[in-house]
């Protein structure tokens, strides 16, 4: 029966072949042509344009500047830098306020409450010191920058700037052997890599779509912006005079983002010249008219869709991670806790790359969500350096009122400008979060390409950190 079915399916196809032969080759064009002819006939009958078209001229004038050969890229970088500068300088104060409220005030209340109802120490440790504190930390550190960054970014998107970015970068991507629309998926990746991977569906050719999926992780995502902004503020901003700090740290974050675009292009080029060889396909990208952004609606959607969404995800992942952190810090094998065992074991290997064992462990714990890397790093640093007076015991998240406190902890943990720089690089170049990995598998249906997408960035990350460290040591050997 199945066999017979197959046969008659083939019959239909061969009938179609024969008929096509009889019709001649140009009939497809006739069909298309008749559609176009009818469309233009109807349009001529029903559309009337009067006089000048002033709005087009405006659009045209703006486009002449923002997509010009010389000004296009500088304007793009300036806009990005401006957005980060506003974010960096605006987020510190509300961050301190939130930390004061959630960590300084509410945490002791919860802790005392847990003791009062007779909760055993390990349970209140797991719940209050682990789960609650990591959640509070994520909110205090991440909410303010996100609440500033996303609305600004969404305003640019609503205005119609994103397609211009794609337009500017199109020729770069084509030269790299990738599809010009990859510029759009890359922009989506700046929000969320999983979304960027799905957005690669707009690319027709499977080869170019795969390249776009494999390289999307080089776009800094939501979860990584706060890490970049915080570390840049502490180490890069801290290395220059105070009145330059804001500007320079914003510049450093833009630098990392641009480096990500650079890697995206280089890796795309490498792939399209080796395992994914093929023709670059042409496409037309429409530059939509500029539209006045709807401020209120933008605020609403960026707060609900992005800020709250990302924050919620961070919290959901931070709670179990907080529990894991508390457990690895409090379960002892011999004299040392599990975390200390790992850190001591990994340190020599990590120093080689200018990182440390804490960072590596943090990235393992934070595979589900990049958002919790910084809280994890801080907690593990306090643990492994045995800082006193910062918290209430090993594996307990401590009270941080400001960026300065964070800085003090990291410096006490032996962090230098080089460690900060390498963490920024490693945050750009490491495996995608588990959601993105899963999305890549769903989109490619291939375990092989999922593995490549996962391992490629992390290998690159180690290479880049290694060379950065060696070059650094060559110039500043006092370390």
């Amino acid at each position: 029966m199945a066999k017979k079915q197959q046969n008659s399916n083939e019959d239909i196809l061969s009938l179609a072949n024969n008929l096509r032969w009889e019709l001649g080759v140009d009939f497809h064009d006739t069909v298309i042509e008749s559609i176009y002819a009818d469309a233009s006939r109807i349009a001529r009958k029903t559309v009337r344009t009067q006089g000048e078209k002033p709005a087009y001229n405006w659009d045209f004038k703006i486009d002449r500047i923002v997509t010009s050969r010389w000004l296009g890229f500088p304007i793009m970088f300036l806009l990005l830098a401006l957005v980060f500068w506003i974010t960096v300088s605006g987020a510190n104060y509300p961050s301190g306020l939130l930390a004061g409220l959630l960590i300084d005030s509410l945490h002791p209340v919860l802790k005392n409450g847990a003791t009062a109802i007779g909760m055993p120490w390990w349970l209140s440790g797991v719940l209050v010191d682990g789960a609650y504190l990591s959640m509070a930390w994520v909110i205090a550190v991440m909410l303010p920058p996100m609440a500033i960054f996303f609305p600004l970014f969404t305003l640019l998107e609503d205005f119609g700037y994103l397609p211009r970015v794609a337009f500017n970068m199109d020729s770069l991507f084509r030269r790299a052997g990738a599809h010009g629309k990859q510029a759009l998926t890359l922009s989506m990746g700046f929000g969320c890599n999983a979304a960027g991977v799905i957005a690669a569906r707009v690319i027709d050719s499977p080869r170019e779509r795969l390249i776009a999926i494999l390289t999307n992780n080089f776009s800094l995502c939501n979860g990584r912006w706060p890490t970049q902004i915080l570390i840049a503020t502490i180490f890069i901003g801290g290395a220059v005079p105070a009145h330059w700090a804001g500007l320079v740290s914003a510049g450093a974050v833009v630098g990392i983002a641009v480096l990500g675009i650079f890697f995206s292009l280089v890796v795309s080029w490498g792939l399209s010249k080796s395992v994914l060889r093929g023709e670059t396909s042409a496409f037309s990208l429409e530059l939509p008219p500029y539209r006045p952004p709807r401020i209120l609606q933008t605020l609403y959607t960026s707060l609900i869709d992005r800020t709250i969404f990302v924050l919620w995800r961070a919290i959901v992942f931070a709670i179990p991670a907080g529990i894991v952190i508390w457990l690895v810090a409090n379960i002892h094998l011999g004299d040392l806790s599990l975390a200390e065992h790992f850190i001591q074991w990994a340190d020599p290997f990590a120093f080689f790359f200018g990182l440390n064992g804490v960072i590596l462990l943090a990235y393992i714990i934070a595979i589900p969500a990049n958002e919790i890397v910084i809280p994890t790093v801080l907690m593990l640093t306090v643990l492994s350096t045995g800082l006193s007076g910062m918290g209430e015991g090993a594996g307990v998240m401590f009270e941080l009122n400001s960026v300065t406190d964070t800085e003090n902890i990291l410096r006490a943990g032996g962090w230098t400008l080089l460690t900060g720089l390498n963490l920024m690089l490693f945050s750009l170049l490491h495996n995608p979060c588990s959601t993105t990995i899963y999305t890549i598998f769903k989109e490619t249906h291939s375990a092989k390409w999922t593995l490549v997408a996962t391992l490629l960035p992390i290998v690159l990350g180690f290479i880049v950190c290694f060379f950065t460290t060696q070059v650094w040591l060559l110039f500043f050997s006092h370390r």
Partner: protein, 263 residues
């Protein structure tokens, strides 16, 4: 019959009839597909109809999968499917295939084509292709505010007569034209407005014969498959994805309504 009465009979009058259902979509009476070129405001129309807040963005290709939502109007429940933007039904990228397969085989009760009023001629290419494969459609002429700013005037009545479907001018960002659109969808869905869609005339008798020969074969092999003529035409043109669907028998699954979300 007084004029007061007339007014109350007019469906547009009953704005309060509209109940946005968000994603609550059990017991659907009609399925409405939203199609159109990229960046014409489909998602904005979708949000206005359903009360959902799908993220919208001013760039083509924002919607890559289909989003679904619902509303209830005049005691009927509608399910709205927001499709990815597409310039034609003939192309091959995954997002455009999603749109095409749904219009072709998802059997929506009404297909609303959202068009950019400032670029009508190019948008009409898709409109005409959609009208080739469906009998029930509404044209939502969106971005009328931008058209006005650009001094573009569109003769909607004439356009509606040419296309044989209702044409509703709208400015979805300002929520203008939405009650009229909802009313038009209802009229088409209920059959009170009978569309007489524009069909291409310039087909040779030879082509028509070939199409109908092939369509007969297809009907025998895949009973219940909608849009046989279109599938036949695509086979004649050598559309690889359709050829593959015939070879593997996937096409048969389409006819049994796998893609159709209808209850």
């Amino acid at each position: 019959m007084n004029s007061q009465h007339d007014c109350e009979n007019c469906p547009v009058h009953h704005r309060e009839n509209l109940i946005r259902l968000g994603i609550a979509m059990d017991r659907v009476d009609y399925v409405v597909a939203l199609a159109g070129n990229p960046n014409t405001g489909k998602s904005t129309v979708f949000n206005n109809l359903t009360g959902l807040r799908q993220h919208t963005g001013n760039w083509p290709g924002k919607t890559v999968t289909r989003a679904e939502g619902g509303y209830s109007y005049a005691e009927k429940r509608y399910k709205v499917v927001d499709l990815p933007g597409t310039y034609s039904l003939l192309s091959t990228s995954t997002d455009e295939e999603t749109a095409r397969d749904f219009i072709l085989f998802g059997r929506p009760d009404v297909t609303v084509i959202v068009a950019d009023a400032t670029r009508l001629e190019r948008n009409l290419n898709l409109v005409l292709q959609v009208l080739e494969i469906t009998d029930r459609a509404v044209l939502c002429l969106n971005l009328m505010d931008e058209a006005k700013r650009n001094h573009i005037e569109i003769d909607e009545r004439n356009l509606s007569a040419e296309l044989g479907i209702p044409v509703i001018p709208a400015a979805a960002r300002q929520k203008e034209g939405m009650p009229e659109l909802i009313a038009a969808i209802e009229e088409v869905a209920s059959g009170r407005y009978v569309c007489q869609p524009h069909r291409l005339k310039s087909r040779s008798p030879k082509l028509n014969h070939a199409v109908s020969t092939l369509a007969q074969k297809l009907a025998a092999q895949f009973p219940g498959l909608p849009n046989l003529n279109w599938v036949a035409l695509r086979l004649l043109e050598g559309d690889q994805s359709i050829i593959e669907a015939v070879r593997t028998g996937e096409l048969g699954k389409l006819s049994t309504g796998v893609l159709s979300p209808q209850p």
